[in-house]
Subunit: 248 residues, 2 copies
DNA sequence: CCAAAAGTGTTAGGCCTACACCCATGT
DNA sequence: ACATGGGTGTAGGCCTAACACTTTTGG
């Protein structure tokens, strides 16, 4: 099947099963090698990248739709997902679909609901679907050109992530189950965009009583191996209720 | 026209000019006599109250739709308005419309975008439209029964308002142009839900340098009349950029 | 004089920052 | 020895909460 036929097939299916004019876009954050990543798709026939997204089935909650879309793209369920903003300008979605016939589903005006997700980089396998050429992690500092208003959506998500850092389970969802203190600190430094004082950081984290200590890491490097920690999820979530109050 | 005919007329017009499945609901806050108020409508033929809301025209930005809906209900433009959450559960909107024929616009499944507005109570004239019996301010502490999930929407808006108090132009938009220091303090106390220390409050507000002092109020009471203030809008907005940092 | 409003001083505590110094561990 | 990691002590600065005291004004 060529690209147009793929879109046509998608168009037919969507008309049958989805609500028109409403779409969902997901900004999926991951953390790897000391930098923040976002999951992006490259569509066939378009020379730009886009956020994973989709439509809402007629008998499906909006949140469920976001979960379904994410699961299709990552294979993972139990993902942290939160709606953060709606994008509803006239003409925001049609521009990059102008090559398709007017009758196609994709040519509609869409009001898109933006979700941001926090996932464990290592546990995810980016899945390419039929209408996308590739599905990859991209570094937040070197993004390719994005279609439609996806750049704006992404930046809004990042802004929300920063603002919510004391209320979102950032550490729990972006790090592997077992992690080291330097990793955790780097994560916070990257999200906040500034260096943090090591000693004070450790003190603060420990003061929350949300960490379980594990055996040291059997490292291969010429130094002391870092201690492995995991989160005490119960106490972590309790602490988030009041916000991890502090200014960093 | 009876109630059903009114809905029928509205249904026809909406099918012609609006996007299906998408709606807007507005939580309009006002401040009067030391308490926080919300603008509510009582629909004809339904025994519950509802938030002012409406649909999005085919060639209209989502934000524009919210402004238009609010202007119709309040007569005012230049209203502070911000989207805060989307409500998209299956069945959230249909329940209270079950008395209408299935073909009616109102029986659709709607994904509703919630906006909250801050308005100057004195400058607003609540407007009743053809399908509502009345449009009134209701005290936040004694709300009537609300239709659909409007209670949930309202509580979400209130929560957002509290969280954003240091980033929203709360004082500027909820108070009359000239106001007194005790008024301002009461506003903050009500939004935050706790009493504030008078002396410290004044000191803080003054430290921001966002107030213009006016002549004293020609009061009729047996006391010293309070000083009238207005906001220096330029400096107020500058200060909001960084958030009115403090914990209250 | 009284009651409401306005303004200022002061103290104690809490938290954050920054710097410093300690120890542990694997090569 | 050295580089990395883990942990603690402490002083200064800033903000806040709480209390107190003073002054102004209209009736």
């Amino acid at each position: 099947m060529n690209v147009k036929e793929l879109f046509e097939k998608g168009s037919e299916l969507a008309y049958q099963s989805c609500i028109p004019h409403v779409s969902v876009d997901c900004v999926v954050f991951g953390f790897h090698e000391s930098s923040l990543k976002v999951l992006l798709l490259k569509m066939k026939g378009v020379d730009k990248w886009g956020l994973p997204g989709g439509y809402v089935k007629k008998q499906e909650d909006l949140d469920q739709a976001a979960y379904r879309i994410l699961k299709a793209r990552t294979g993972a369920s139990n993902i942290f997902l939160e709606e953060f903003k709606v994008f509803g300008k006239v003409g925001r979605s049609e521009a990059d679909m102008a090559h398709l016939p007017e009758s196609f589903w994709q040519r509609q005006r869409f009001v898109s609901v933006g979700y941001y997700a926090l996932v464990n980089y290592a546990e995810i396998t980016p899945v390419t679907d039929r209408i996308s050429e590739s599905c990859e992690w991209k570094d937040i500092d070197s993004l390719p050109e994005l279609m439609m208003d996806h750049r704006e959506i992404l930046e809004n998500a990042l802004h929300t992530l920063r603002r919510n850092i004391n209320y979102s389970p950032v550490g729990l969802n972006l790090l592997p189950r077992e992690f080291t203190m330097p990793q955790l600190q780097r994560l916070y430094e990257i999200i906040l965009g500034k260096p943090l004082h090591r000693g004070n950081f450790q003190r603060k984290i420990h003061s929350f009583n949300i960490l379980n200590k594990h055996d040291a890491n059997p490292s291969k490097k010429a130094h002391r191996p870092p201690i492995l920690y995991s989160f005490d999820t119960v106490r972590y979530n309790e602490a988030l209720q009041n916000g991890l109050k502090q200014e960093w």
